[in-house]
Amino acid sequence: MKRIACVIVACVMIVALAAFSASCARNDTVENLEADYTGLEGTSLYVMNWGEYISDGSEGSLDVVKAFEKATGIKVTYDDSTPSNEAMYAKLKSGAVSVDVVIPSDYMIQRMIKEDMLQKIDTSKISNYKYIMDEYKGLYYDTANEYSVPYNVGMVGVIYNKTMVEGTPDSWDLLWDAKYTNNILNFSNPRDAFATAQFLLGQDVNNTDKALWDAAGEKLKEQSPILQGRVMDEVFNKMEGGNAAVAPYYAGDYLLMKSINDDLEFFYPKEGTNIFVDAMCIPKSAKNYDAALMFINFMLENEVALANAEYLCYASPHSGVVNNPDYSFKGNEILYPDEAHKPKTQYFYDIDPEIRSYYEKLWEEIVR
């Protein structure tokens, strides 16, 4: 009797597995490739990226990595286990892995260029580089466009639940409003959290004056008693489920939350906010430079860049995406605000190590 039951269970599991893999028939072909992707068949490529930061074939989207392998015959090792720029930096610095393509944020690219960890990228070999819009060229971290190719652009704003918040707020001081005690979230990442206070105080987020950092730290301490929590990814659950009223987060992620909870609203604070660019780079440790160029070029293919922009909901620096009539966020007022609605923005620069350890120390006092 027992044996029969076992056999039945096993059969059911096999059928379920088969059905599951059949339903996962992947979308992994790009129809109209513009560049030539031949010549490197059989080689391998190591790509390091953030989790859920590329169109991966879920929900019928394009599986970019699979499509690249299919188009080029290159075997890709795709590593998305690294949680932060700092952890990625540590991995590359330790030399434990040799990575061909990484996608760090602007300030980290600045630091890696300073520490001679990146190779120059020969953009003449990246035919699709022409799609990168001029406003994302020559940015502070790579003024001559030698080391990086922009992938995504994002800005931080404030998300709030309109059933829980009165009126239409427009300032960072919403995060300090005692009316919403225990319903306010802030970042658990020190640099982002400090920035919320710095913008409110009208400071430069890259200042090197310890007294100003002290003031921002005081402001954060003042916020602690009314704070529900300090979060990063947990913000999705909390805002979507109506567990908190106010949270600062990235504009692209707001659009994802909005699609689940329609009560959520968003604004760019009038005092200004943080803007960031994540860009593709080739580390010094790269073993397959040509394949890395090919991968970057592939990411800039119209169809691929569109798939990524749709999947990620971040703003794209790619003119082929932004002007594509089929792009569902074309002209979206949050991702692509017009001149009149563009918020004041500041980039985070790679900060002086002494100031960094100073504010990290302050942070420990705040969260303790």
Partner: protein, 295 residues
């Protein structure tokens, strides 16, 4: 002859522990006593003093969690050992059942249950019970004037109570298992003999069952206390990022600050603390006439 056989049998584990236990421990020690450039330095050790509150809080929380698990597990294990073999099998499976799921998933689920608009608060609202706060929570000044009544929540997440609850929930099986094992092995005729000789119920427990079950209790205490004191995931998720235990501090030093030296020094203190407490526990077990424990 016998000796050489033993060496032979031990070899695989000896090699394993040399590579994966001893060497990493030595690396931790080396990092703790060097600076970023790799030269000898006691800076990290000196800096530890600043983290004393952090250590105190971790120890306090895990002690409370350990006591609670003991109070829950001991009577349960005793009662269970008295039931029929079939019941014992089923009950043990039920105890183990949650552990088939990943700890991260279980903790994340509790986040959704305990959150402001979580399942528990919704339940309490339906039955018209809204406790203002949960063990040391911020007062219930968190009621928004414009909020629908149904949304006025009790605060669970982000309180010490939630973190301790998470520890108890996750590590309870580690307390039940060793205690149950010694209880089940206990010879029932000893109890009968004690009764025959005129011992009353309480004395049977105090002078017979308690000493005999001590190895299991000590094993259980160690197996709950050690993971509790070093946890970081539970405090991060159920503490809502507001409660930083020593595990969180170590994780932060390693993952975001790239300060391996201080991270190693903190870990070293944690390890020494655990070793000392295990040593004391073992002595305690010896003096009560029972064998030491294996963790």
């Amino acid at each position: 002859m016998k000796r050489s056989t033993n060496v032979f049998l031990n070899a695989p584990y000896a090699v394993w522990s040399a590579i994966f236990v001893v060497v990493p421990l030595l690396i931790v020690v080396v990092y703790a006593f060097t600076d970023a450039e790799g030269s000898f330095s006691t800076d990290s050790i000196v800096a530890l003093w600043e983290y004393r509150d952090n250590f105190q809080k971790s120890i306090l929380y895990s002690l409370v969690a350990t006591v609670i698990t003991l109070i829950i597990a001991y009577p349960f294990a005793y009662a269970l050992s008295k039931t029929s073999e079939k019941t014992q099998r089923i009950q043990m499976m039920l105890v183990m059942l949650p552990m088939w799921m990943n700890l991260l998933i279980r903790t994340y689920s509790w986040m959704n249950i305990l959150d402001h608009n979580g399942i528990l608060n919704q339940l309490l609202t339906t039955v018209n019970l809204r406790p203002a706060s949960f063990l040391g929570a911020a007062a219930a000044g968190d009621l928004l004037p414009s909020m629908p009544l149904a949304l006025k929540p009790a605060t669970f997440l982000g309180t010490p109570g939630a973190v301790i609850f998470g520890m108890v929930y996750n590590y309870l099986p580690y307390m039940i298992l060793p205690i149950y094992t010694v209880m089940a092995k206990m010879d029932g005729s000893l109890v009968e003999a004690a009764r025959d000789l005129g011992c009353n119920g309480f004395n049977v427990w105090r002078r017979l069952i308690l000493p005999l079950s001590m190895p299991g209790v000590i094993s259980g205490i160690t197996m709950v206390f050690v993971p509790s004191v070093s946890t970081f995931y539970i405090s991060q998720k159920l503490g809502n990022g507001k409660i930083m235990l020593i595990g969180d501090t170590i994780e932060r030093q390693m993952q975001t600050l790239n300060n391996y030296n201080l991270g190693a020094a903190l870990s070293l203190v944690l390890m020494v603390m655990i070793l000392v407490s295990m040593f004391i526990m073992n002595r305690f077990a010896d003096s009560s006439g029972e064998g030491g424990i294996v963790v």
